[in-house]
Symmetry: C2
Subunit: 198 residues, 2 copies
Amino acid sequence: MNDAKSKILQAASELFLEGGTPALSVRAISKRAGVSTIGIYSHFNGKQGILDELYIEGFEKVFSEIDIIDTKHSPREVILQGVKGYLKVADQYEAHYRLIFGESDSGYAPSEEARVMAEKAFSKLVDISSLILPVETEAAKKQRFALEIWALVHGYVSLKHHAIATLINPLEWNELALSAVATHIDAVISKYALSIPR
Amino acid sequence: MNDAKSKILQAASELFLEGGTPALSVRAISKRAGVSTIGIYSHFNGKQGILDELYIEGFEKVFSEIDIIDTKHSPREVILQGVKGYLKVADQYEAHYRLIFGESDSGYAPSEEARVMAEKAFSKLVDISSLILPVETEAAKKQRFALEIWALVHGYVSLKHHAIATLINPLEWNELALSAVATHIDAVISKYALSIPR
DNA sequence: CGTTGAACATAACAGCGTTATAGTTAATCA
DNA sequence: TGATTAACTATAACGCTGTTATGTTCAACG
């Protein structure tokens, strides 16, 4: 990798972690990276290119947390482990998370490459969440169940940043999310236990 | 209400519905309202004041949809009815929804008055969702259950705007959300059915 | 009638993403 | 070696943003 290119990415990532989208101006990045402003445009596709890199970086972190190879524990516990990792990433990389889910500046739209990364992560989520479903379950149904889990967890993360969040003890949030997922998983498990002939 | 003031609000609301946050510039509002840019600052607290009005407007719409007085149907159906209304508002007033949940421009933070409105809506949600809980359930527990419902529904709405949403039929989204909520409610109902001594 | 105060338009400020222009440096090639 | 080419650089500008200072107009009130 080009030296200037990696320095730009490093600077952008630092600024992003420190101050989120508002701190991520082209001039600030170039200043910290020690390059001129048009360096952002020669090495990347301007600000859109920088945001794309951070978007992908964010999804890579999510992916690595839910990419679990575990044969010792039950599917239920594997899913909960993945949710824990997801919540951890959402806490540690809040700016990335907000970027990924359109909660920052509205001017950004992910590129094709960035969307591929997003779909890869969702695909992995489908893999681990469908562990509790019968193997012969059709693909669309597996997707829908993964979506249920994701919506529930993402909902907690998103509401955590909301004004209403002051009503609930902030330390509890992740536990509440985990508990809600557990409730939901158990409901689905018992539903399928009924529908599976024995 | 002052005439200029209402014209400004009208113009802002129109622009917001048409083009969301990016279209909502102080100059564009003043131009459409037929006032000077400084009028936005004399009648409101600048852009923050405008966004506050739209924030409150959005929560009012949510509130009116979940403010259900219904003694004919079961608590379960009342909740699902509220969720349907919530999803309708999220569709019809997408820009408001994104503003409310921090998914637009990151510079905005709701004022005290706006937060009061948000809490009022959440309070109403607690009211109708706790209909399925035993009356003697403690307040914190009712809040936590309302949060579960809200997180689940909001998760679906938020993910609907996401890049990953192309993988799922967009027409199905609201039905998927409703179905997920129904699953979750039933799980909680059966849990409490077990814990209630008879 | 004179004064006061509110709303007004104009213009400016600093910042934003982006780009045109021009200067500098380094590597490549005849 | 000397000339050309490509990639870097800085400077400045364009049009946009939110915000504010400066005058100006105009209607209401004592």
